[in-house]
């Protein structure tokens, strides 16, 4: 299930700016632990943001993205009170979806 994301969305002059702080380990699979064993890869592969039912951002993530990634994007439209849903899937089959209201 992962840890909850922090999402802020604000509408200004017809443009909605969404900021997301994802909480995820984002292991590349190239690091070794103290015993020399490889730390298994564990990263987000897909992240989708929806405004209501409409997809406004669809992205493929990979091991080069940092731990606890921060993501900000803007889209036209959206109004105060609308729902923004951000969801991700990772390479272990885990997924998480969080919701925020445009303010």
């Amino acid at each position: 299930m992962g840890n909850p994301m922090k999402i802020r969305a604000a509408n200004k002059d017809g443009v909605t700016e969404v900021k997301v702080l994802v909480s995820h380990e984002m292991e590349t699979g190239q690091r070794k632990d103290a015993n020399g064993a490889i730390v298994p890869a564990w990263f987000i592969t897909e992240l989708v943001a929806k405004h209501g039912d409409k997809t406004v951002l669809s992205s493929e993530f990979g091991p080069s993205v940092s731990k606890n990634p921060y993501l900000a994007f803007k889209f036209k439209g959206g109004a105060k009170g609308d729902k923004i849903t951000v969801s991700w899937k990772d390479n272990k089959g885990d997924s998480r979806s969080d919701e925020a209201t445009i303010g």
Binding site: K6, R8, A10, K19, L21, K67, N68, Y70
Partner: protein
């Protein structure tokens, strides 16, 4: 006794014997006593025991609004920004909140320290926000606003839930949840006053370092353990020229004594140019002052020539070589002066 020292004595007596009010009276005509309102405006610090904490309250939601408006431009919406300042939030775990010591600090897992991985007292954060934030308008936040922003930060750090309201009543409870609350030690000599045993905070001024000079088993002399073998000396050209020219370590002269002397003279010529000698003196010709060859000719065979010349160059002079004076050169270092004079007397080669 002069008037000045009398007045100092009076001040000293005033400080030690009389109350602070009469001490101020001793500065006749200088300033005035601060009014209670002025003292109140200045005395805004909040201490770890929450002395000085203003009454008020603020919730996470209000803090979010304020943070977005006043703080996010530098700190990022989630206090995550590393652009202007180091991040405010992040880097701690639920375990840290239990133990009161951020594990990442000692295990080296933390890629980046944040405010909440380090700070041990919540009062410090309150005081800092109240005193210094926002950067462009410090002290402009009302106590309720500081409480709200602090509540938002604590929520970002997952110390308090999203519906939390921070106030002067429950801030002491939050202190007990701070991730690095046990991370501060006071057993250090820099704390002023008495030691912790005697009611102070530090260790009474015992230095952290001992600084005991090691005077045992000293080596009687330096022994060179290894040198460049002859066949390899010139493999990389002149090593001395490839090393930094400051600090105690120089590369060895690998191209032999001839090259070494040439290089040393070249550097003395540089020194002479830098010191301004070459503006008036030529090596083999007169410019404004005598050429160095003329100087050598005049002082040849005089055993005290070096010390006399050093004194002359330093103080300047007139009349020995004509009416144009030589300016004093007190700005040149003594060592450099000596090098220059020896170089001139040796023929400026």
């Amino acid at each position: 006794m002069s008037r000045f020292s009398k007045s100092i004595l009076a001040v000293a007596l005033g400080m030690s014997v009389f109350s602070s009010a009469s001490a101020v009276d001793n500065f006749h005509g200088v300033g005035r006593q601060a009014t209670p309102a002025e003292v109140k405006a200045w005395d805004i610090d909040v201490r770890p025991d929450f002395k000085g904490l203003p009454k008020g309250k603020g919730n996470v939601e209000r803090g979010n609004e304020l943070f977005e408006e006043k703080c996010a431009s530098c700190h990022g919406s989630f206090g995550e920004s590393n652009e202007v300042f180091t991040p405010l939030a992040g880097g701690t775990t639920k375990d840290d909140i239990k133990t009161g010591r951020v594990k990442g600090l000692s295990s080296g897992e933390l890629p980046q320290r944040t405010t909440f991985t380090k700070v041990a007292t919540i009062s410090t954060v309150f005081d800092y926000i109240q005193r210094a934030m926002p950067w462009t308008a410090p002290k402009s936040l009302k106590p309720d606003e500081v409480y709200a922003i602090l509540a938002y930060l604590l929520n970002l750090q997952e110390i308090v839930p999203a519906d939390f309201e921070l106030s002067d009543k429950n801030i002491a409870d939050v202190q007990k949840l701070l991730p690095n609350r046990n991370g501060m030690t006071t057993d250090h000599g820099l704390w002023p006053g008495a030691s912790a045993k005697k009611g102070g905070i530090g260790n009474g001024g015992v230095p952290d370092v001992k600084n005991v000079a090691c005077m045992k088993n000293c080596k009687p002399e330096v022994q060179i353990g290894s040198t460049l073998p002859d066949y390899a000396r010139t493999a990389h050209g002149e090593l001395a020229d490839q090393n930094r020219n400051f600090g105690p370590v120089r590369g060895t002269r690998t191209l032999g004594p001839e090259a070494a002397k040439k290089a040393a003279d070249a550097s003395t010529l540089d020194l002479a140019t830098k010191s301004g000698c070459m503006a008036c003196h030529g090596v083999k010709n007169k410019i404004v002052g005598p050429g160095f060859n003329e100087v050598v000719a005049r002082y040849q065979g005089q055993p005290d020539a070096e010390s006399r010349l050093i004194a002359k160059v330093k103080a300047g002079g007139q009349g020995v070589w004509g009416s144009i004076p030589m300016p004093p050169n007190a700005h040149i270092k003594d060592d450099d002066l000596k090098t220059l004079v020896q170089w001139i007397l040796a023929g400026s080669k």
